[in-house]
Amino acid sequence: MKTIQRGSRRALQVALLAGTSLCIAGAAYAAEPMVKACAKDGQFIIGFSQANNAEPYRQHVNDELNAAAKEVPGFTLQIADGAGNVNTQTSQVDNFITQKVDILLISPFEAAPLTPAVKRAMDAGIPVIELDRKTVGDPGKDYTAFIGGDNFKIAEEAGKYTAKTLLPDGGEAAVLQGLPSSTPAVERLNGFKEGVKGNPKIQIVAEQAADWVPDKAQTAFSAMLQAHPDIKVLYASNDMMAAGALLAAKGAGKDVKIIGTDGLPGPAGGIEAVAKGDWAATFTYPTGAKEAIEMSKKILLDCATSVEPTVTVETTAITAENAKQLMGK
């Protein structure tokens, strides 16, 4: 029994190996472009399925994508707003498939729920570039590529910054979480906790959800300061909540070092808040918009036969040192 089993498994492995190498060989041999209709001067429609336009960060992504797409004469960018609803977003992806867009860009609201829709697009021969958030599976196989930051890493950076620079001698810290049980909220929370572990003298004394929005953040942080007047550092999982927390700290007359996330531009964004000295830091969450349009150009205009499956756009720590300089950008 055992031997037969082992034997058959080995046979399977051999067959698989052979198959894989054949495939690789075949791909290298034919060197087919990823999109057959590719052409230097062609007209192409790029569909972008956005998770939720209502968030300022996502508006920022849309703006950057629009700006980048405008630079390319043959590109028309269509943005569909998933409105924070996996059902709506799924149907919008299906609509893009019906329209036969030339490339699908997507920031899935949640990973697993959008996975089948992405698969349908791939099956329909539409390259899928995932921005900022991934679906389930591997880039280069289940979808064409992933471009984005790493929520966990960015939050971990913020945690390390807290451990080393803000509270080297330890003290109390607090966290404002995004919408509970949404992927980025979970990843950013876990990342920050991992980051501060390097300094055992730091205690996270409070951790509340403020659903990404400033008003809830203000309320939640006011309550935290009531209960724990010695909080020295607040980590907010996005800039909006950091802005709300600042109001709470001012209201309580406390000098709390606030860390935001996203590094949004503009007067309400984190870069300016750091430049003004209101916050200690914010960690940019790069949109990857330019990179996505670049990749689309490679596929559609340059007839690329393959692209980099994962492009991780690095976060930048915005602190008092570099904020003023970045503000103009």
Partner: protein
């Protein structure tokens, strides 16, 4: 007064050969959602982008997409129709959907329960949740608006507790931590890849609901309670039971939609179904069911649901901004409500 013959004495008068003689406006309202659906469909065909002469709007994949996308809110709207006919409202349905998707996912993934026990437990949970809301509302004479608003909060809270503030992915296979693969069928299409299973669930549920509403004693009581509660009570209709039952039905519908949601998206999250209650109420109102209670139809609700989906679809196919979608929906809701109130005034029912 003029048209029926009344013979004060002598032979019984023959009833006028039943000319239903309804106000034409009332007729329009009665079929408004069907009319609206046809109009949207015609608009869809006219304004649809074409590719090689093919009308994309009518592409079978596109139709399947439309009816799949509306199936969850459709299931909820079916339940909501019962409640609104009794002149009630249920704001908790979206949250109960979220709770149900979370419970479905966690029972199968961390609880190791099989398909049938999971589905049964979730459906029963929905029924119980709804019945509790109905009982509180009737027992303490509270506005259903308030009770189900509290229910909304409670369901979201419970969902967060059950999920431990995490989302739960559903992976399939045999063994611990995996869901039975057959559950994934909810995300697929049957009959040569044409009919989404989620849509089938919606249609079957709608058909059963139509029969219950129109041909059973319970359905008749639902109309009576909404049309004139006092008359219903004096006629011996168990008014409180009927009210509790309709909330149990919305709870069931929301749980069913939650199961469909979990199956379609392989996922359970406390945030699922946010705002669905409002879409469902919109579909019901567009479907010609009166928010004043006493009148309404399931066919109308189904048509209203599909109409909203078709509208969103055609707007997106033409790359029209989501803002326009919201404005168009708003206009349709207002139009439907205005038509309703015009008819009420003509019938002298205005409150």
């Amino acid at each position: 007064m003029s048209e029926e013959k009344v013979s004060v004495a002598g032979a019984p008068a023959v009833p006028a050969a039943a000319p239903k003689h309804r106000d034409p406006l009332a007729l329009i309202v009665r079929f408004q959602s069907l009319i609206g659906l046809v109009l949207v469909a015609i608009g869809g065909i006219i304004f649809s982008p074409r590719r090689h002469g093919e009308i994309l709007f009518l592409n079978p994949d596109n139709i399947a997409n439309i009816v799949r996308a509306v199936s969850e809110t459709g299931i909820i709207a079916i339940g909501m129709t019962f409640v609104i006919i009794t002149a009630g409202i249920d704001l908790s349905v979206g949250a109960v959907l979220g709770l149900s998707s979370v419970v479905t996912a966690s029972m199968m993934i961390s609880g190791g329960f099989g398909l049938v026990p999971t589905i049964l437990a979730v459906l029963i949970m929905g029924i119980v949740f709804g019945a509790i809301q109905g009982t509180i509302s009737t027992r303490f004479r509270l506005e259903p608006f308030i009770v189900t608003l509290a229910g909304l909060q409670a369901a979201r809270g419970l969902a967060l507790v059950v999920s431990g503030n995490q989302y739960i992915n559903i992976s399939y296979g045999d063994g611990p931590g995996l869901a039975p693969p057959v559950f994934a069928v909810l995300g697929e299409r049957l009959f040569n890849n044409t009919v989404p299973v989620a849509t089938l669930v919606f249609i079957v549920f709608a058909a059963i609901a139509t029969i219950v509403l129109n041909t059973t004693r319970f359905g008749r009581y639902v109309f009576a309670v909404g049309g004139n509660e006092r008359a219903a009570r004096i006629s011996g209709v168990p008014v409180s039971m009927v009210k509790i039952s309709v909330y149990a039905i919305t709870g069931f519908a929301a749980a069913l939609a939650g199961i469909v949601h979990a199956g379609q998206f392989n996922f359970g999250s406390a945030n699922d179904g946010m705002g669905y209650e409002l879409t469902a109420i919109a579909a019901v109102v567009i479907g010609g069911t009166s928010l004043f209670g006493g009148a309404g139809s399931m066919v109308g609700t189904v048509a209203g649901t599909i109409m909203l989906g078709a509208l969103a679809n055609i707007l997106q196919l033409n790359n029209i901004t989501p803002a326009m979608q919201l404005l168009a929906t708003a206009a349709i809701i207002v139009l439907a409500a205005v038509l309703q109130s015009l008819v009420r005034r003509r019938e002298g029912l205005g409150r």
